[in-house]
Amino acid sequence: MCLGVPARVIHIEGSEATVILGSVKYKASLLLLNDVNLGDYILLHAGFAIEKIDCLEAEETIRLFNEISNLEKE
């Protein structure tokens, strides 16, 4: 029950969004999160969007992994 999953927002109506994960659609309440826009990736947890996923941060983290592990040289 406590597992959060990342999903993309494809529709917003009032305080409820429709999100897609793979090819499955879910409802996500927006009562805990402001400023959600179409196309955003959110973290879905027990029916609520609890945080936005920051894709730039994700890329930065990946860049750090690569730096650490020197993969860029391969």
């Binding site: 406590c2 959060g4 793979g22 309440s29 027990a46 029916g47 592990s69 020197n70």
Partner: protein, 364 residues
């Protein structure tokens, strides 16, 4: 889990990166260290991907108390059953909970005997059931940490707004920092924490400060992919080897330093901290959330009078020691003999996030 539409997921599961980080860990790690993965989601990633096999022998991973179903006390299950047996009550719950054994029954067994129980994915579904069943009293069993507590708070505020007066919450919501502090006070074998990513998304990073500053433990907030976990372990080992303890955040794509202020506000509005009983830890001061006076009308504890006796865990079950990282599931005499996911004796075998269930699924 199909996450095909995420643009960066493959990078976080890349085996080459896992191997390279693992060799970095081997290079710098000298001391014998015990690291606790607090969250059941982390336990799952570790065992599903065999991540312990990438680590040197001096690093031991311990499972922690971060599975909400597992830490729910026998008394809470008994309390829920007692309310469910009252006339005109519908219990609503997250699915995992219904198979957790109480002292003499479980919600699943009670359902077969006629207690009305509906499984919901979200607390808002429970609110909808209340709206559609005006003659019934609909009680939602509120379990979970700082992740699900704001959702329960939001549901109560919606009930107020929409004047749904037959909706109640039986709160067993819990707070993570007091539990972790109890663990390190009791037992100093833990050197560092793989801290829960989604709790931290709500609370922000500061809640672990006492663990680093007062108790000298390493803390890194972690994401849930294999590369996240290995990277987190590398960061923890660096802290431990250099004796520079601080709260670091590996999961920056989700966790902001300040957390989610909107969720924090709702939680503070509806709940007040209270003593709470944890399976494995017993009563921990200020580690639970009770409904505040203002919202008493929605509090199942206040509005349903039932008597609940304190009872022990099933005989032989060492769930408590497993939840506190003192023992591994394989050290339990019941494990995989009489206690299996089909026929669980203890809560840790019930939930898919429970250590026993995960060890059972991925055992060799």
């Amino acid at each position: 889990m199909n996450t095909g539409n995420l643009p960066f997921i493959d990078e976080f599961r890349n085996e080459k990166v896992v191997n390279r980080i693992a060799s970095q860990i081997k290079e710098i790690s000298n001391k014998k260290v015990n690291l606790m993965e607090v969250c059941g989601g982390h336990t799952m990633t570790i065992h599903k991907n065999g991540l312990s096999g990438f680590l040197p022998e001096n690093i031991t991973l311990l499972s922690g108390p971060g599975c909400p179903v597992c830490v729910s006390s026998t008394r809470f299950i008994d309390h829920a059953i007692a309310i469910g047996r009252l006339p005109n009550v519908i219990l609503t719950t997250y699915g995992d909970l219904i198979r957790v054994p109480g002292s003499s029954s479980s919600l699943e067994k009670e359902q077969r005997k006629g207690v009305e129980i509906r499984i919901v994915y979200s607390v808002l579904e429970a609110l909808e059931i209340a709206k559609a069943s005006k003659k019934k009293k609909v009680v939602f069993l509120g379990i979970g940490f700082e992740t699900t507590a704001p959702a329960s708070a939001a549901a109560i505020l919606q009930a107020v707004k929409q004047n749904v007066l037959n909706f109640y919450l039986l709160s067993a919501h819990k707070l993570m920092p007091p539990a972790l502090e109890t663990l390190v006070k009791e037992d100093n074998q833990i050197d560092g924490f793989i801290a829960p990513g989604h709790v931290s998304a709500i609370t922000g990073c500061d809640i672990y400060r006492r663990l680093t500053d007062i108790y000298g433990k390493a803390v890194v907030i972690s994401g849930f992919e294999p590369v996240d976990i290995l990277q987190t372990i590398l960061m923890l080992v660096k802290q431990i080897e250099s004796k520079q303890f601080k709260v670091e955040n590996e999961y920056t794509r989700v966790v902001r330093p300040e957390g989610n202020p909107m969720a924090q506000t709702l939680m503070k509005r509806v709940f007040t901290p209270d003593n709470a009983e944890w399976r494995g830890l017993g009563w921990v001061p200020e580690s639970g959330l009770s409904i505040s006076e203002e919202f008493a009308a929605f509090d199942a504890t206040r509005n349903f009078t039932v008597s609940v006796l304190a009872r022990e865990l099933p005989k032989g079950c060492i769930c408590g020691e497993i939840l506190t990282g003192k023992k591994k599931p394989s050290e339990c005499k019941l494990f995989a003999v009489v206690c299996t996911p089909i026929n669980p004796e203890g809560a840790c075998m019930v939930s898919p996030e429970g250590a026993c269930s995960i060890f059972y699924k991925y055992r060799e």
